[in-house]
Amino acid sequence: MSLKILEKFKDPELCKELLKRLQAELDGEIRFMEVCGTHTVAIFRSGLHSVLPKEVVHLSGPGCPVCVTHESEVNAFLELAGKENVIIATFGDLIKVPGDKGHCLKNAQADGARVEIIYSPFDSLELARRNPDCTVVFLGVGFETTAPTIAATVLMAKQEGLKNFKVLSFHKLVPPALDVLISDPETRIDGFILPGHVSTVIGIHPYDFIGAKYGKPAVVTGFDPVDILQALLHMVRSSKEEKPEPINQYLRAVSEDGNPKAVEVMYQVFETADALWRGIGLIPDSGLEFREEFSEYDAKKVFDLDIGECPPLPGCKCGDVLKGKMNPEECPLFGKACTPAKPVGPCMVSTEGSCAAYFKYKVD
């Protein structure tokens, strides 16, 4: 697709027209939650947040993979980072995430741990090949978007017989988390803007339950302002239906069935398991663990790591923010005890978290 065509999805005039249509078709308040952190940032960075009609209430969801990585999982990274002859391979945005004692991989690095920032999981295989005396542990964090590539990396390691490569799998699955959020009687979510990247892998049908079971609209969408505004229009229209089906606005990237090959690779290596979500807690069948036949790559088993639940952080309201029950600015710690320089809770941890986005971008 040419850059010129892609520019259309940022076109300010088209956005203004869509805003007018949105205003005209609204017949009351609509509270939408965008699940994905990239959408959160897109909504703020484009200035959309400040020009949406006041009836459109924006809630940021749990779709930032860094935000939902549980403190006990971060503690496990830190435990491994302190071990001799271990190299931690990670995507950049995990290295500032604090565990329950406030330490992060950046501190561990300053204390002498080897932490390498990589751009693709395949780079961690190269690290393992170049460092045969060390064990390279890749931090497997993320949603359905990244899990297939990581599974493919494991398959490649097995094919090569690479013994010094392991993965700490803390992957999370999006649909089970949405089920928990929407079924909570205290949440007031009228519809979801669904993560386009995740749907390139899983397609749109795993979200059928949102309309069928809860009667709420859900739109898979891209990351430009035109995408988001179109998605909101779709949402307003389909909120009038009794059992709306999920809509695919992101047709240029997402097919209805996603990428079955990627899903197959993901489930060849991993199987679903219960997972801990930071700020939310345990969600059944919302994570990915190694299948038995790949256990030699499972850092949890190889290093005998104990991942236990930590007590909640005193005063932190991130759980309520992630569930759409509270606006970031209503949290008593926001901008005071909790800032991007010294984040307390998950929503302030990542640049894609909702509290971080409010802190970073909101004018008044």
């Binding site: 200035g47 993979p65 964090v141």
Partner: protein, 335 residues
């Protein structure tokens, strides 16, 4: 030189050091003051003096558009010039890792000499240390520069005034993306290259022809966003930027989008930011655009009293958002 690699001997202070200095540094930095090889330099300076120092530890040391040597001259020359000064003299100190290929060192020293010639400055004193392998990453260079301030009143970060125009001399983020892309071996668009250059000749023209330039700054580490935040805090004013006016090369915008980075936070090494009364904006832009280092210059915003100490970005949609100071370093994200 007798070896193809830098040995610890070259930092010993003995004959090997002397050979390194005379056959390499003095050869490429040639000027009468340095050639005296005294313990210190004797300088001719008058009036108010601008002085700045910087240490260069860039990885990789060679990158499209320059290397650590030329960068060490450009960076300090630009810092000195941003006070409305004519840079005159530089010092330079090398800390070299044992084993650095002599050819690499020569390339760096040579390009440093060439950059000085272009900028019209002399390296008048220096120092060389060689440290055991692993103690530094290949080579670190420190440069200190001095120059004579000719602007009166001189530009300063605390002089931005409500009603002023905010200008940039060209596209943002070229250097930062080049360094990141080269460091990580990413195959970015082939024409992304560092903008590293000495801006002093253009800056001198500007301060000579515009009666009162309020602020000059080079948006290096932290980029345009961080630099503007420093200025709005120092001057207790608000800067309102028009996002559509900020020049960013399409290949830089594309690379940033791919890596999840923001070009407004990426370093520039051959661009400057100029804040001055709106009535002089057109004239300043004419001067900049007439120079090859400023032909993409444009006005990107204005200084207001709306939110003192803040930078506000007005997006193409007409939305408004904060453009905060960079917290830590920009890191590519998971998805």
């Amino acid at each position: 030189m007798s070896s193809d690699k830098v040995l610890l001997d070259y930092g010993s202070g003995g004959r090997a050091s002397q050979r390194l200095i005379s056959e390499l540094f003095v050869k490429y930095f040639a000027n009468p003051e340095l050639e005296r090889l005294n313990d210190a330099a004797s300088l001719k300076l008058k009036g108010n003096i601008s002085m700045s120092t910087d240490s260069f530890t860039v990885d990789p040391i060679f990158f499209p558009g320059g290397n650590i040597g030329s960068l060490a001259v450009h960076g300090t020359v630009n810092d000195v010039a941003m006070l409305g000064a004519i840079p005159k003299y530089l010092t330079c100190a090398y800390i070299i890792e044992e084993g650095l290929p002599m050819d690499d060192l020569e390339t760096i020293v040579k390009s440093m000499g060439e950059a000085c010639k272009e900028a019209g400055v002399n390296i008048v004193t220096g120092d060389t240390k060689v440290v055991p392998k692993g103690m530094v990453d290949k080579i670190f260079i420190n440069t200190t520069g001095v120059g004579e301030i000719i602007a009166d009143p001189g530009p300063s970060g605390d002089r931005a005034t409500v009603g002023d125009a905010v200008l940039v001399s060209g596209t943002m983020g070229d250097h930062g993306l080049t360094i990141l892309g080269t460091r990580e071996g990413l195959s970015l668009e082939s024409n992304v290259q560092s903008d590293s250059a000495s801006l002093n000749h253009l800056l001198i023209k500007l301060v000579q022809e515009i009666p009162d330039v309020h602020v000059l700054r080079d948006p290096t580490r932290g980029g345009l966003a961080t630099t503007l935040n420093e200025i709005t805090v120092s001057s207790n004013v608000c800067c309102e930027l028009d996002e559509s006016s900020i020049p960013v090369k399409p290949e830089v915008a594309g690379g940033c989008s791919f890596l999840g980075l923001d070009p407004l936070y990426l370093a520039n090494e051959g661009k400057f930011l100029c804040i001055l009364p709106q009535e002089y904006a057109e004239k300043a832009l004419e001067i900049m655009r007439a120079d090859k280092l400023g032909h993409d210059a444009c006005q990107v915003g204005t200084i207001t009293d709306a939110n003192p100490g803040k930078v506000i970005l007005v997006t193409p949609l007409g939305g408004r958002r904060l453009l905060n100071m960079l917290e830590g370093e920009q890191l590519p994200r998971i998805c």
